[in-house]
Amino acid sequence: MKLRANLIIGGTLFALAIVVGVLAPWLAHTDPVMDANLMNAEEPPSWTWWFGTDDQGRDIYSRVVYGARVSLTVGIVSQLINSVIGVALGLSAGYWGGWWDDVVNALTNVMLAIPSLIFALAIMAVLGPGLTSLLIALGLTNWSFTCRIARASALSLRSQGYVQAATVLGYGDLRIMITQLLPNMLGPIVVIGTLGMGSAVLSEAALSFLGLGVRPPFPSWGSMLSDARDQITTAPWLSLFPGLAIFLTVLGLNLLGDGLRDILDPHSRSRRT
């Protein structure tokens, strides 16, 4: 029962966020950047301004709606990069073994040893703030779990009959990895990826707070929340709505991840590594 509740609530929240992001131009009332009118600055929520306006007079509802694009892009793309890196390294290391396996193992250990937020911070410092930097910084720093899982399952699948049969049939390594091994490890990787998206959205907020987030004027939920923190008492709606958007989306991703884990990866409930 609980399993389905996870999946349904989580999936709904995440799907909702995606729909909002995709339909942003139709859902938004105003342009999130250009429609600043200082005459309307800091209006509390009302029928005209559903979520109120910010200190530049921009409609927060429209900015939250557009912010879904930025924040979800950060979450999805950076996690996609992580997954691709993790799978490519882990799969090849587990399949080929030997010195390459040692190299990948060493690399994973290095990644594991540097806290990912700190590593992302360092990369952001070098690349400078901005969406691209953010995607790179968050995309390069959170693949070690995926890599370990991919490696472990490649290692165990390698000796399975059908994989060896494929080898005998003269299939190329790449083809075997992609057609034979990859589908069998997709479950846990999707689960990790889902949970990783949530943490990427939160990392974006943290980096915004540290002054190294998405480059405005385009709104991201993290930067909106971070910018509004001085006005938490005077204009609470400035932070309430982007904060809620982050919370619900990350909550959705976490629940979805849990739900998917129960279905796709029932064996490893507790051991992530």
Partner: protein
Amino acid sequence: MFRMSVIVAGMALALAGSAEAQTPRKGGTIRMTAPYGSSFTSLDIHTTQRAQDEIYAKALHRSLYTWDSAEGKPVPELAKEVVVSGGGLVQTFKLRDDAYFHNGRKMTADDIIWTFNRIMDGTKAYPGARYVRIIEGAAAVEKGQAKEISGLKKIDDFTLEMKLTEKVDPGFYFFTALTSIYPADEGAKDSFIQHPIGLGPFKFVEHVPGSRIVLERWDKFYKPGKPYADKVVVSIMGEAAARDVAFRNKEIDTSVLGPAQYVAYQADPNLKGTIVEVAEVFTRYMGMNPAFKPFSDKRVRQAINYAIDSDLIINKLVKNKAYRATSWLPLTSPAYDKTMKPYPYDPAKAKQLLTEAGYPQGFEFEWTTSQNESWGLPIVSAVIPMLDKVGIKVKVKQVETAVLAEVVRTGDYQAFIYSQQSGPDPLAALKCFHSSTPQPACNYMNFRNPDFDKILDEAGQTDDTAKRNQLLQKANAFLYEEAPVWFFNYNKAVMAVQPWLHGIQQNPTELTHQNTEELWVDDTSPAK
């Protein structure tokens, strides 16, 4: 205009607290905050030019001069008398004979000479070098061509002669903590940086990096009866929201307010009375690179000034925590022309000027900015739609403050938004636009105009204060016409001060820089 008269009136009063005419209480702890970042740079105040560090340095150190907020100018601090001779180029200082370093030794002329030689050490690039360079022979020391500054001569222990390279008031050069006087013997030791020794009213007790500096009363301070307090604690609190909680919670005695909190504190009857504000000598502006084609045309630069509704931004976004800039020189400058009017908001005029300049459809430029809330991204975001209305498109390039400083120095920009010191010395402030001033020094827009140079040179040569101010006003008006920048605002510094802390000075160079010997706490302070 009303607001301005308030400021002037405020400055006429020596001390904000003195109006209360209470007898200062001895003892207690002053709990100040350092709001500009999450650490102090260094206990060697010569190495750092950040406003953050000077907050503690004002308690610990003394320089040759100090800023007198009541007079609105620098006054001699460690000298009892200054005699000017040699056509204004030779300054003879009769030094105090009652100034003791915190190790108990009396200060002499040797300490000053040693300190200035140290600041000119070219292998260290001390930021104070730019001030000491005004002394003859200082530059040679910096370049390694001489060991000692030739323009400094010790007459006796308490008499010092200083030869300048040009005719300026040395007070403007030697009042900041960058030129704090160190004890010659101790300053050379490695231990100095862990346990600094100065001449100030409070001596060093401890520094918890990233957290606070604690100082205690220096009994042999040269001003009789001062300081009042037993202890000064300067806590580092970079987060405005956290500072707000701490101030409301009565955990700190002073807090610098941003625009949002300025509004909140004004609206709160319990906090309204804690607000202290002053017009600081900083001008916020958008610099335009004349090497970028559209900006080479004066009409385009003027059009930008017409196109932006600066008052609206100041009113709504900056929440009136700034004064509208007319030209370069700030309100508190002696050469400020009160009759001058700022560029009005007139998009039609802007459009017309753009058309005349050959940009009827507008153009696009890249605007480099930091995240600073008062002169960074939020302002840029508000300006973008305004410029858009006259057809000018903006591409934002966001960088960190440190990078922006570099960008500005090297001229690697099309436009940038910045806050630059424009006082207290109006001549020095305008000198930044003199063609002899290299771009990295402070001529960030690489402004070159022989007519302007002529006015400024003339002002520099005259000894008549009135005439000089008149010429400076003319130069300032010249800049208004040329519009090398978008004149945005002059900062209004706002600090919240708990009711039990008295003696706050309205220092227009930086409100957080307080002469701590004047401050005292009454017995309603939770810290007693």
